[in-house]
Amino acid sequence: MEQRATASLWEWANPVKFLRLSGWLLPWVSWGAAICLAVGLVWGFFFTPDDFRQGSTVKIIYLHVPAALMAINIWIMMLVTSLIWVIRRHHVSALAAKAAAPVGVVMTAIALVTGALWGQPMWGTWWAWDPRLTSFLILFLFYLGYVALWEAIENPDTAADLTAILCLVGSVFALLSRYAVLFWNQGLHQGASLSLDAEENVHDVFYIPLLVCIAGFVLLFVALLLLRTRTEIRARRIKALQARERAA
């Protein structure tokens, strides 16, 4: 057996160590999320100028963009944790994917709803079959299917295996759908305007509070993820204890 001197990332796959670390991290992350969101949203909503064409509706960007960003990245995080589960069989990894999925559903829903609220006055319609909007709706369906599969299977290890493979296959098809949808219809949604290398970006007046909001959403997700994973680990323990008592 090889002896590892330094602490490796995989040590946190041990549920006990994970609980200890996450218990220590959780208050910091939660407070960070609360402060970032409070500062970012108040700054964005009350202390930035109105856009000269969009008026005050531009301010929905502080909810819409971070939520949409998280919706995609949560799926990618689920993909990574699913791969870790399939390859290295760390239970915490599978539980983290399970814990992340409902948060992803909510983020996707926030992005879709705020987009519709913004689209009504700006595009004159709640919904258009624009490639970005359509891909998000499809992503929402993928999230729903993933969560439903977790709920439907009783054996936790089987559920973790099946949902992990669904996540892998689903990711490929989600990408395929993204490009299929681009092929299928022309876009109404504006292109990327937050990239570091783009020529024309959002002005700094909007950009900096937006960055604070994005940081807030990321921290919020991490806090929810830690909290929900801890809950899942404890629920798993209670089940094991109950099973042991029945057996005794």
């Binding site: 299917g145 599969l149 439907a152 089987t158 669904l166 299929a180 949808v181």
Partner: protein
């Protein structure tokens, strides 16, 4: 392998009536659409390729849970899994049997149903070609969904929720090819992409289906 395929085909045709059901469903969907959107010929002609594609897709979906569920219930799936035939080959055969009993008949009747929807004359060939190229992908993806939900009681609704998002790219390219064909445009690009999806899924997805089935049989 051939014996297994023949067995699946015989079971589909003789027992349970799964064979004609998809076709009847396809017919009913096509008949219901004019009631829903009104009988104007121009409107129907314009949406006919899309309706035929959606009808075929739903008819395909309807029969997915039969692919593995019956073998699962009577235990023959366990026997097949211990047979020398690899599980990847088994799921591919199941998908092939599903395509022959469901997809192929749908392809063949689609032009006839096109008459009901006053599909333009140029459209008949292309609806036939696009469905013939696309329905194998529907069967293969559907087999993956069936393998995923085989252990779940009353998993039919869940199966639809899981499989329908996976059908999106196939539907987009297939319906696009049929529509362009019906309107007299070039169909080469969507057909090539559709073929890419079909052959890609045939080549890769059986591995995922077999992995999932192995987990479910554990």
């Amino acid at each position: 392998m051939i014996a297994l395929l023949a067995r699946d085909l015989r079971l589909a045709v003789r027992a349970g009536g799964g064979f004609g059901l998809g076709l009847a469903f396809f017919l009913i969907v096509t008949v219901l659409v004019p009631f829903g959107v009104g009988p104007e010929t121009e409107l129907l002609a314009r949406i006919a390729p899309g309706i035929l594609w959606i009808g075929a897709l739903l008819a395909c979906l309807l029969s997915l849970d039969r692919i593995l569920a019956l073998d699962w219930e009577d235990g023959s799936l366990d026997l097949l899994a211990t047979a020398p035939l690899p599980l990847e080959a088994l799921v591919s055969l199941k998908a092939l049997a599903h395509w022959i009993t469901t997809g192929l008949p749908l392809v063949l009747v689609a032009p006839a149903l096109g008459v009901l929807l006053s599909l333009p004359a140029e459209g008949y060939l292309w609806i036939l070609v696009s469905l013939a190229l696309g329905t194998p992908a529907l069967s293969v993806i559907g087999t993956f969904g069936a393998a995923l939900t085989v252990g779940i009681k009353r998993g039919g609704l869940l199966l639809s929720l899981l499989v329908l998002p996976l059908y999106v790219p196939t539907l987009i390219f297939g319906a696009e090819a049929a529509r362009r064909g019906a309107e007299g445009f070039s169909t080469a690009t969507p057909l090539a992409l559709l073929a890419g999806i079909t052959f890609g899924t045939i080549a890769l997805l059986p591995f995922a289906s077999a992995a999932v089935l192995r987990i479910n049989l554990r």
